[in-house]
């Protein structure tokens, strides 16, 4: 089934000045500047949003769903990301923030905490204790990292934990309970996730590891921030408050590792740092480590591209809730129920995650070897300073682009200037 892969990260051409900032930060070298505008190579893009974070002209953006989709359903549920709690001053309280989101136009607000707590208990008491487990295991909660692994570290796909993310777990429980409560069918209930993450938007539309997400629409925290601010003063505190220490920490780098209480764990955040650590894993240097918590964003999800608040300030605000929260507990009865839901596939990544080979020069090895020789030859004539003016992130990428036939109009300005200078002299 070749369904079109819908990326969430896009470019607003009218704002782009072709400055090369995004070119340099893309972890899969998926951006080129052509005719003065940035272009994203769709096969390489993992929707991590690093380009959105760095663009000084706010030209990089995300396509999300529109609130008008709520009209399609008879009953609407909203699941806000746990990062929401760090976006406002901590004297406001979680209950008010959740009610402010609900007031935007939803019938019910469900806390992501229920998904995080289930994840913690199922991981800690069951999945991480399974015999024959392949160390180190890698968390499955960062969709950008899963896509990075597909493209750059396909050998590590088996190390990814096959538990669905807390958001998907919470959404599945929310919809199932709503169906029971209202008597409506699955298709009449809408569920919207409020997210900090571009890769999450992509993964709802193009899921990896599951056939279809229970989430119907994704809206960014950024775009409804104004609505929440306007609503906050009008809503009550509400009796909502299922947040536990563990679920609140989930959105902060290191929170997952701390929650599952594994002895030998490693926490790494920031996509270039994750790349360095995963390279060590590939070499077999980290087989004594049991659990690796990877986040593409610095600081964890609180550093996501679609948030308003600075990640360090957000962390500080969430920590003030953590201090007041209880430790998560779960009865044996509930734990067994959720372990069953994992084992029978409801909470599990049941579909195989396939490697994506986009780095190769050609599908035929002999042609690849010949092309690589051409790349080496071309590079001998390039300055090697990776300035990006030609529109490719590095001199090597420029040589590869020429050999692959991607763009024959691009010119190395540095060599051209050298040529002028030599002729003048």
């Amino acid at each position: 089934m070749a369904r079109e892969y819908l990326h969430s990260v896009i470019l607003k051409e009218d704002r782009c000045i072709g400055c090369t900032n995004c070119l340099k930060v893309c972890p899969t070298e998926a951006i080129r500047v052509r005719d003065g505008k940035a272009k994203i190579i769709p096969e390489r893009c993992i929707d991590c949003g690093e380009c959105i974070k760095i663009c000084p002209n706010h030209a990089k953006n995300v396509i999300t769903d529109d609130l008008s989709l709520l009209k399609k359903y008879k009953y609407n549920i909203v699941v806000p990301s746990l990062t929401l709690y760090g976006q406002f001053p901590s004297n406001i309280g979680i209950g008010k923030m959740l009610n402010a989101v609900k007031l935007i136009g939803f019938d019910e607000v469900v806390e992501a905490a229920i998904g995080a707590d289930i994840s913690v208990h199922v991981l800690k008491n069951y999945i991480l204790k399974k015999p024959g487990i392949k160390y180190p295991v890698i968390n499955s909660s960062c969709p950008a990292i899963i896509r990075l692994i597909q493209v750059r570290f396909p050998d590590l796909i088996p190390n990814i934990i096959d538990l669905e993310t807390p958001i998907e777990i919470a959404s599945r429980i929310a919809k199932s309970e709503a169906m029971e409560k209202t008597g409506l069918s699955y298709d009449d209930i809408g569920l919207v996730f409020i997210t900090p993450c571009t890769a999450r938007v992509t993964s709802v539309r193009n899921p990896l590891g599951i056939e279809k997400s229970y989430i119907d629409g994704v809206i960014s925290i950024r775009e409804i921030y104004g609505d929440i601010v306007r609503n906050i003063d009008t809503v009550s505190n509400g009796s909502i408050g299922k947040s536990t220490k563990e679920s609140l920490l989930w959105a902060i780098a290191g929170g997952q590792a701390a929650a599952v209480k594994v002895d030998n764990h490693l926490v790494v955040d920031g996509i270039s740092n994750v790349i360095k650590v995963l390279e060590e894993v590939e070499l077999g240097k980290l087989e004594d480590v049991e659990f690796i918590e990877c986040s593409a964003c610095l600081g964890g999800c609180v550093g996501g591209p679609l948030l308003i608040q600075n990640s360090f300030v957000a962390k500080n605000r969430i920590m003030s809730y953590v201090k007041k929260a209880q430790n998560s507990t779960m009865s044996k009865e509930d734990l067994d129920k959720y372990i069953n839901m994992y084992e029978n596939g409801f909470f599990r990544l049941t579909e195989k995650i396939e490697p994506k080979s986009v780095m190769s020069l050609d599908t035929d090895l002999l042609k690849s070897i010949q092309k690589m020789e051409m790349v080496t030859e071309i590079m001998k004539n390039l300055p090697g300073i990776d300035c990006g003016v030609c529109g490719s992130p590095t001199c090597r990428a420029f040589a590869e682009d020429i050999v692959k036939g991607d763009d024959n109009k691009a010119v190395c300005i540095v060599k051209t200037m050298e040529g002028f200078k030599n002729r003048k002299a």
Partner: protein, 143 residues
């Protein structure tokens, strides 16, 4: 021309750059589109050879030759040579100094790992002169 060759210099005690050559090699192989299992074996073999050059040798080179049928790794150094090759090939046996072991290296698994990763493994050493290792890893059918 249907094969390519790359040579990397490795300096004695250069821990800062240890692993750079094998990292480059891995990037090259990924670009050629080789099967990821082959890439892993070549990377591990090249890495162990490179670390050995840094820890034990007076400096040397790692070269790699790729043709449609196989990848060949050459590791050559200018000394000091291995006193007892058979002992060196034993798992866990290490001649690394205390300082090197404190840094997390010298577990005694380098040569055995290299042999395990390669389809063909050849080692020659002359005390006082140097060591040369040749490893071949064959492409799978249809890759």
């Amino acid at each position: 021309m249907d094969n390519i060759k790359y040579i990397f210099e490795v300096e004695k005690d250069d821990f800062e750059r240890a692993g750079e050559a094998s990292s480059q090699i891995k990037k090259i192989l990924r670009q050629l589109g080789l099967d990821s299992g082959i890439i892993r074996r070549v990377s591990i073999a090249a890495y162990e050879a490179e670390i050995n050059l840094v820890i034990h040798s007076n400096g040397g080179t790692i070269s790699i030759e790729i043709d449609p049928g196989k990848v060949t790794i050459y590791a050559n150094d200018k000394g000091p040579g291995i006193e007892n090759v058979e002992l060196a090939m034993k798992e866990g046996y290490s001649t690394a100094t205390e300082r090197v072991r404190e840094m997390g290296f010298g577990a005694g698994m380098g040569l055995p790992n290299m042999k395990r990763c390669a389809d063909n493994f050849n080692i020659n050493s002359i005390l006082g002169q140097g060591t040369s290792i040749v490893m071949q890893i064959y492409m799978k059918d249809g890759v």
